[in-house]
C-alpha cells in the first residue's frame, strides 16, 4: 500500500485534470474547489460489511414504506407512531405529492445513508439523505485512478470492485422507466456536483440534459436533441431539488426546472428519481422515528442503531436536553450540509441562552444528540499519518430490490478540531474498500 501512498500527488493531480471538483457558494460568490483525496482507504471486512448491508437495506426499505404511507394512507400517523406535527407541518412534506404512487412504487431510488463508527467499533446512522444524495462518483473515479497508478495494491488486496455503481444505477433507472430514454437532469455547470452529473450520465448511457432540453406535451416528457427531433423520456434522474423541479407547482422563479413535469409524473408517464416529496423522510426530526418505522412496517428489530437522539418536542426529552446541554450536539432540523449544527459545550454563554430560549419556543425545530466518540481515521498530511474525524456515506439503490453498493464515500475533516466532514465545509475524501474475503 506504500506504493499507493506515493501516488497521492499523481491521483490528486489527475482528479484536478478530470475536473473532479466541488463547487461552493460563499458570500454570494461561486468558487470551485478540489475535493482532496487521501490515499489511505477505509477498509471494511467482508463480515462487517454484510451486517451493514442488511441493516442499510432494512432501513431504506422501511423509509420507502414510510414515504408510500405518508403520501397514501398515513397509517403510521393514524396509529400514533409518528406525531402529525412532524409530518404535515414539515417543509419536507409536499402537498403536491399527495396521493401519487410513483412508477413501481419506489420513492427513494438512491439513498445516501451517513454512518459513523464509534471507538468500540459499532456503527451509528447519523443521517438519511433521500432527496438528491451526491458523492458516489468520487470513490468511483478515485478507484479508477488508483488502480491505474498503483495496480499492485489491488493485486495484493482482495478488494471488491466498486466500478459496478453505474450498472446498479442504470438497472434502477430501467426498472422504473415508463417507456422512453433515461436522462440525467442537471441544473447546469454552476452546480456543486456538476462533475458528478456528467460522469454518471456518461457511465449509465443516459442523456445529460438541462430543463430547457425537456418539454411536456399532453402529460408526456420529451427530449429534443441537436437535430430537433423529439424522443420520449421514461425516467429522469434529476439532480435538481424539489422546489425547482416544476415552476408551475413549486418555485415559480425557477429557471432550471421543467414546466408541467409534475403533471406528467402524476399521470404516471415518467419516473422521477428520486421521487419528489422525499424530504419528509430525511428530515432530522423524522430521523428519530426511523427505528420505530422499521418495527412498524417490517416487523423487524433495527439492525443499525441511530445515534442516541432526543426530541425537545417531548417534555421528558426537553428536560434532559436542558440538563445535559453541554454534552449534546444540537441540530436545527431545517438545515443541511453541516450548517445549523452546534455543540452545546462550544457556545458562548449568551449564544447558549438564546439557543435554549429558541428551543423552548420552537421545540419542534430541534433535535439533540449525544456526541459519539468517533473512531478516528488516519490521513496523510505532509507525509505523516494524523488522525481525523471521518464518516461514511453508503449508497443504497432501490429498484426491483434494495442493494447496497460495495463501497461508499468516506469523508474526513481536515481540521483536527472539527467533527463536521461535509465537503461544503472543506473536508476531503477517501476510497472505501470492502474486502472480498
Amino acid at each position: 500500500m506504500d506504493d499507493l501512498f506515493k501516488q497521492t500527488e499523481t491521483v490528486n493531480s489527475l482528479l484536478a485534470r478530470y475536473g473532479v471538483k466541488f463547487g461552493i457558494y460563499k458570500d454570494g460568490v461561486f468558487r470551485e474547489q478540489l475535493f482532496p483525496f487521501d490515499p489511505i482507504p477505509r477498509v471494511i471486512s467482508k463480515e462487517e460489511f454484510s451486517v451493514l448491508e442488511k441493516g442499510l437495506a432494512q432501513r431504506v426499505d422501511a423509509l420507502n414504506c414510510f414515504l408510500a404511507d405518508i403520501y397514501g394512507e398515513k397509517r403510521i400517523v393514524k396509529d400514533g407512531v409518528v406525531p402529525e406535527e412532524f409530518v404535515f407541518a414539515s417543509s419536507g412534506y409536499l402537498r403536491q405529492c399527495e396521493g401519487i404512487v410513483p412508477p413501481e412504487g419506489v420513492h427513494s431510488h438512491i439513498s445516501g445513508i451517513d454512518l459513523v463508527q464509534a471507538k468500540d467499533g459499532s456503527w451509528y446512522v447519523l443521517e438519511d439523505n433521500l432527496r438528491v444524495p451526491s458523492g458516489a462518483s468520487y470513490p468511483l473515479i478515485a478507484r479508477d485512478l488508483t488502480r491505474m497508478s498503483s495496480p499492485d495494491t489491488f493485486r495484493h488486496n482482495a478488494v471488491v470492485d466498486n466500478r459496478d455503481y453505474a450498472d446498479l444505477l442504470k438497472a434502477v433507472m430501467d426498472h422504473v422507466n415508463t417507456g422512453g430514454i433515461n436522462v440525467v437532469l442537471t441544473p447546469g455547470r454552476y452546480n456543486a456536483a456538476y462533475f458528478e452529473h456528467s460522469y454518471l450520465a456518461e457511465r449509465t448511457g443516459s442523456v445529460l440534459v438541462t430543463g430547457q432540453d425537456l418539454t411536456v406535451e399532453d402529460d408526456v416528457v420529451y427530449y429534443t436533441d441537436y437535430q430537433g427531433s423529439k424522443v420520449k423520456v421514461g425516467a429522469v434522474y434529476r439532480r435538481i431539488s424539489d422546489e425547482y423541479l416544476d415552476p408551475l407547482e413549486f418555485e415559480e422563479e425557477s429557471l432550471i426546472g421543467v414546466p408541467h413535469i409534475m403533471s406528467a409524473y402524476r399521470a404516471g408517464n415518467v419516473a422521477l428519481i428520486n421521487a419528489p416529496g422525499n424530504g419528509i423522510a430525511d428530515d432530522k426530526g423524522i430521523y428519530y422515528f426511523v427505528p420505530k418505522m422499521i418495527r412498524y412496517y417490517l416487523n423487524e428489530e433495527p439492525i443499525l442503531s441511530n445515534a442516541p437522539t432526543y426530541l425537545p418536542f417531548y417534555e421528558e426529552d426537553r428536560r434532559y436536553v436542558l440538563e445535559n446541554f453541554d454534552r449534546l450536539v444540537i441540530k436545527d432540523v431545517a438545515e443541511a450540509g453541516g450548517y445549523g449544527v452546534v455543540f452545546g459545550s462550544k457556545l458562548f454563554p449568551e449564544d447558549k441562552a438564546s439557543l435554549i430560549a429558541l428551543i423552548e419556543e420552537e421545540p419542534r425545530r430541534f433535535i439533540a444528540q449525544e456526541v459519539i466518540d468517533f473512531r478516528d481515521m488516519d490521513i496523510l498530511e505532509d507525509g505523516e499519518r494524523v488522525p481525523r474525524k471521518a464518516d461514511l456515506r453508503a449508497f443504497v439503490l432501490t429498484g426491483g430490490k434494495t442493494v447496497v453498493w460495495k463501497s461508499g464515500l468516506t469523508r474526513f475533516s481536515r481540521n483536527p478540531d472539527s467533527f463536521i466532514v461535509n465537503s461544503s465545509q472543506g473536508g476531503g475524501f477517501k476510497d472505501t474498500w470492502v474486502l472480498s474475503r
Partner: protein
C-alpha cells in the same frame, strides 16, 4: 338559485412571450351546496388543454402556448345552481373526507399565527359552528377592506397586524384563527354575484361537515357564492400560474360577472 358566471383573465406582455406554460384552476366544482350545469372554457392563443385533478381535489387545466404572443387570455363561463339559504345559518359544503381533520389543522408559512392572530383566537370558545361564526366576526372586525393594501405574499398575521387587506387576507386570517382554536379550516377561491374580481373565503370543518364562511362580507356562504377550489392557503389555490420566455408582463386584467339567471 340559478346563476350564470363568466370569468375572463387577460395578460399583456411588453414584447413577444413564447414557450408559455400555464395552469388554470378556475373551473367550479360540484358540492352539496352547488351543482355545475353547462361549463365551457377557452384560452387565446388557443392551445390543447389537459384536465387533471390536483392533490386537493381541484380541477386543473394545463397547457403550453409555444408560439410568440403579446397577449394571453383565458375564460370560463357556465351555469351553477346553488341551494337557497334564507337564514344566516351555514350550509354544508362537503361531507369531510376521513383524513381532512388531520390534513387541515396545520399552519403554512401564510397562515402561521403571530401575536395578533393568537389574541383573536384567544377570545374564542368551543369548537362549534358558533365558534366559527365568532371567528368570522372577529376577523371581519380586525381588517379594514382596502383595495391594493396587500400582495399575494402577505401572511395572515401581517394583514391583521396592519389592519388592512382584501378578501384573501380575511380568508387566510380566518383559517389561521380557526386552526388555532382547534377547528380544521381551509382557504377557498370562488366567484360571487356581481361584477369584479374573484373572491376568497374560508371553510371550517365541524362535526364531519365543511361549512363556508365569508369573513370579508361577514356572512355565511350561501346561494350567491360559486366555489372553485380549496387548499391550505392562497398558494394552493392560485387561479393562474404561468412561466414563459422572451417578455415581461405589462398588465393583467380580471373580470368576473355572476348574475341570476332569468327564467
Amino acid at each position: 338559485m340559478e346563476l350564470l358566471f363568466d370569468y375572463r383573465m387577460s395578460i399583456g406582455f411588453d414584447g413577444m412571450a413564447s414557450r408559455h406554460a400555464f395552469t388554470l384552476r378556475f373551473v367550479p366544482m360540484d358540492t352539496l351546496r352547488q351543482r355545475i350545469g353547462r361549463c365551457v372554457w377557452a384560452v387565446d392563443p388557443s392551445a390543447p388543454l389537459s384536465s387533471s385533478v390536483d392533490s386537493e381535489g381541484n380541477t386543473v387545466l394545463s397547457g403550453t402556448v409555444q408560439r410568440p404572443h403579446s397577449r394571453f387570455s383565458a375564460c370560463v363561463s357556465g351555469e351553477v345552481s346553488t341551494v337557497s339559504a334564507d337564514s344566516d345559518s351555514p350550509v354544508p359544503e362537503h361531507s369531510a373526507d376521513p383524513l381532512d381533520a388531520m390534513m387541515y389543522r396545520h399552519f403554512t408559512p401564510k397562515t402561521e399565527p403571530g401575536p395578533v392572530i393568537r389574541f383573536i383566537a384567544g377570545g374564542l370558545d368551543g369548537r362549534s359552528v358558533e365558534t366559527a361564526m365568532d371567528a368570522m366576526h372577529a376577523v371581519h372586525d380586525s381588517i379594514r377592506y382596502v383595495k391594493g393594501s396587500t400582495s399575494p405574499q402577505t401572511t395572515a398575521e401581517e394583514a391583521v397586524s396592519a389592519g388592512e387587506g382584501v378578501c384573501q387576507d380575511y380568508a387566510q386570517a380566518m383559517a389561521s384563527v380557526c386552526i388555532l382554536a382547534g377547528l380544521p379550516a381551509r382557504y377557498v377561491v370562488g366567484y360571487t354575484v356581481g361584477e369584479g374580481e374573484s373572491h376568497a373565503w374560508t371553510e371550517v370543518l365541524v362535526d364531519g361537515m365543511w361549512y363556508g364562511f365569508d369573513p370579508t362580507a361577514d356572512r355565511t356562504v350561501g346561494s350567491s357564492h360559486i366555489k372553485v377550489s380549496h387548499g391550505r392557503d392562497f398558494d394552493d389555490c392560485r387561479i393562474n400560474r404561468g412561466v414563459f420566455v422572451g417578455a415581461a408582463i405589462s398588465g393583467q386584467t380580471v373580470n368576473v360577472t355572476v348574475t341570476e339567471a332569468r327564467p
